[in-house]
């Protein structure tokens, strides 16, 4: 596939969708500032109420959703390439749950939420990642993509239950971090984003840097070694980038599952299996998916809002079923 084709079939549609949902994210909300009044603000006018809603509430939220989407989409693509498994998804494999549990544990132990959260979450995500990939190397479980997912689901369930028990014991923590048990981007402001931005950027840089070697690795360890790569180091770097990205995203938005599954799935359908093209498209598709889920989650239960994680599960679970049903499953 040539670069032009990639542009036409992948990047253009993805950026179009992203633009549309980003504007929708500014115009649409659960409150009573309608699209017309919000549009005035976007075009530079509008009254004080509308300006506040759009610029102080919806704009930061949209930016946060974009950051989370980029992180989760890229993390999904990298993790799938590393595990060589189209079902490998940070949420499903328990990486997000590990990050979330780490944050809960830190806060129950007395840390204050915003300052340490990103770093603790990265540690938790790394632990989740290593456990998942370690499990994949164990006695042939790695050959069986589906079993890896089941193990991840079991691990997620375990971490979720453990978090709930911790929160039961500590009501203060429970009020402070209820959102960490279901993902959401509501009510985050730019300060929260700035706290995790270094982590996310670092993860992104590592992901981009490691992608050529990682795509060589999909040919098999022997071939990759012959091509001058070191499989162990490459995998370690890939896991690091996934941990950074998912940890950062979880620190700001809580566990949002299925994004890392849907985005590479759609991207693969658009531009084929090449990792670098996948990454390029995922960078655009990830935020598009998260924003879309966020906008829909504001609309379905007006005047309330639904957690983002619930919406992505509704989108993502059918994709999971589709991937499992497709006969090409173990081929990646």
């Amino acid at each position: 596939m040539t670069l032009r084709k990639t542009l036409l079939r992948g990047l253009l549609p993805a950026s179009g969708v992203l633009l549309v949902v980003a504007v929708a994210g500014l115009l649409v909300g659960a409150g009573d500032i309608g699209p017309a009044r919000a549009a005035e603000v976007v075009l530079g006018g509008g009254d004080a109420d509308a300006r506040f809603t759009v610029l102080e509430l919806r704009l930061p939220r949209t930016v946060v959703a974009i950051a989370v989407g980029v992180a989760l989409g890229v993390a999904g693509a990298v993790l799938q390439a590393t595990a060589r498994n189209p079902l490998a998804e940070p949420g499903l494999l328990g990486v997000s749950a590990g990050a979330s549990f780490a944050v809960v544990l830190a806060i129950v132990l007395g840390a204050s939420a915003t300052t340490v959260a990103p770093y603790v979450a990265v540690l938790g995500a790394a632990a989740g990642c290593l456990l998942a990939l370690g499990a994949a190397r164990l006695r042939g479980a790695g050959d069986d993509p589906v079993r890896l997912v089941l193990a991840g689901a079991a691990f997620s369930g375990l971490m979720g239950a453990a978090s709930s028990v911790l929160l039961l014991a500590n009501q203060r923590a429970a009020d402070e971090i209820r959102f960490w048990t279901v993902g959401s981007v509501a009510g985050r402001d730019t300060d929260d984003l700035l706290a995790v931005l270094p982590v996310l950027l670092l993860g992104l840089v590592v992901a981009v840097a490691v992608s050529p070697a990682l795509s060589a690795l999909t040919l098999g360890d022997d071939v990759a070694t012959g091509l001058g790569h070191r499989p162990r180091r490459v995998r370690a770097a890939a896991v690091t980038s996934v941990a950074l990205l998912v940890g950062g995203a979880t620190a700001i938005a809580g566990p949002v599952a299925f994004v890392g599954l849907v985005v590479p799935f759609v991207a693969r359908a658009l531009v084929g299996p090449d990792l670098r093209r996948l990454l390029a498209v995922s960078v655009l598709l990830g935020p598009a998916v998260v924003l879309l889920a966020d906008v829909v989650s504001r609309l379905v239960v007006r005047p309330y809002e639904m957690p983002l994680g619930v919406m992505t599960a509704l989108f993502g679970a059918p994709v999971l079923v589709a991937v499992v049903r497709s006969s090409r499953l173990p081929a990646l």
């Binding site: 689901a153 079991a154 375990l158 014991a169 639904m306 599960a313 679970a317 059918p318 173990p330």
Partner: protein, 393 residues
């Protein structure tokens, strides 16, 4: 099987060698077929009970009772009584175990004990036992049906489906559309969805499970969606459904579950005897004279009814349906599908988990669903990572 009335039932103490002497099947008699005796003149020889079993014969009917499952059942029943007694005795108001047992069984004792035991703790224990038994049976049937010990009502999305529908019922009408009915509908819907999407329970290995995971995730999201739309008090009432707890469950649902168990348990035992054959491939089972499709449908229905009604009482209580049949199989050894033993083991596990949840962080109470998830999660992981099974096709 016809037996002459004079034969006395074999005692369990008989050694296998003794029983074998009466068996004509062991002798090599292939070369010269003996002339067939006229039908009614000679009574057929009484086949001796195979080793490790015990024949219960009354009149013209007899049934083989395997000994080891019997023993396992007895042990589990004793354990159940023991754990139940502890559950009755332990709590904010301690009651001496013997007093508690007396109050529960005979209904005598000090008014305080009677109040605590009969009004507060008995209903909860009743709910725990019935829910555990139902989940144990459902898990056992489901596992045997799909030939996969990880396939249980909670892993294939049944529990989540039942929960979603039950929550929808509770939230939509405050007077209660009977949660049992809605939960049952939900469990059936989820089962049909998972089966249809994965193309059958057996022979597909783990595909069934992952599709179930997806279906379960959708229903879990639907539950959350309903809860976020609901008025706050209705949502609070329904929140208990999302974790699985035995705290103040509706008595009607328990009664419905008891009736369901009365129907399903005997049915499951009868089905379980035939299910042994389903452990082979479908072709072999058909060759042995089992009509595979109707049997599968019946087993699935029984499993769905048990799981749905149990969820209607306690919410999506995980891991019991996974661990109980596993323990039952360990205890009973190879042989028939351990339906009743699974039920007993499920009841014991549920009561134990509830006891742990009530006591570990007292006065705070951990919902029983969280206890089973925290205790059972590592076990499930271990199962997943250490067992070799068929590859997915």
């Amino acid at each position: 099987m016809k037996t002459p009335p004079k034969t006395s039932p074999k005692t369990p103490t008989e050694t296998p060698t003794e029983t074998l002497t009466g068996m004509p099947m062991g002798t090599p008699s292939v070369d010269v077929p003996a002339p067939r005796p006229p039908r009614e003149s000679v009574a057929p020889p009484v086949p001796a009970a195979p080793p490790g079993t015990f024949r219960l014969a009354t009149g013209g009917l007899s049934v083989l009772v395997p000994l080891r499952p019997l023993l396992a059942g007895a042990v589990l029943a004793l354990l159940l009584v023991a754990v139940g007694t502890v559950c009755l005795a332990v709590g904010d108001i301690a009651v001496a175990p013997l007093d508690a047992l007396r109050a529960a069984v005979l209904g005598s004792g000090s008014p305080r004990d009677l109040l605590v035991v009969e009004e507060l703790r008995m209903p909860r224990i009743e709910a725990g036992i019935t829910v555990g038994a139902a989940l144990g049976v459902a898990g056992c049937l489901m596992q045997t049906l799909s030939g996969n010990r990880l396939a249980t009502p909670d892993t294939v999305g049944l529990n989540n489906g039942a929960t979603a529908f039950a929550v929808a019922g509770i939230v939509s009408s405050s007077t209660s559309l009977l949660p049992s009915a809605t939960a049952l509908t939900g469990a059936a819907t989820a089962a049909v969805l998972t089966l249809a999407l994965s193309g059958g329970a057996g022979q597909r290995g783990y595909r069934f499970l992952v599709v179930g995971l997806g279906v379960g995730a959708v229903f879990g999201a639907v539950t959350n969606l309903i809860l976020s739309r609901a008025r706050i008090d209705a949502a609070n009432a329904a929140f208990a459904w999302t974790v699985g707890t035995l705290n103040s469950r509706s008595q009607t649902a328990v009664t419905v579950l008891e009736v369901g168990l009365l129907v399903c348990l005997p049915l499951a035992v009868v089905l379980g005897r035939r299910l042994n054959v389903l452990r082979f491939s479908d072709a072999v089972a058909t060759g042995l004279g089992v009509r595979v499709r109707p049997l599968r449908v019946a087993v699935l229905l029984t499993s769905v009814v048990c799981a749905g009604l149990a969820v209607a009482v306690a919410g999506p209580l995980g891991m019991i349906a996974l661990a109980a049949p596993e323990a039952a199989r360990r205890l009973t050894g190879p042989g028939p599908v351990p339906v009743l033993t699974s039920a007993l083991a499920g009841a014991v596990f549920t009561l134990l988990a509830d006891l742990i949840g009530r006591t570990v962080m007292a006065p705070l109470e951990i919902p029983v669903g969280l206890v089973t998830a925290v205790v059972g999660g590592p076990y499930l992981l271990w199962l997943l990572l250490t067992t070799r099974t068929r590859r997915t096709p």
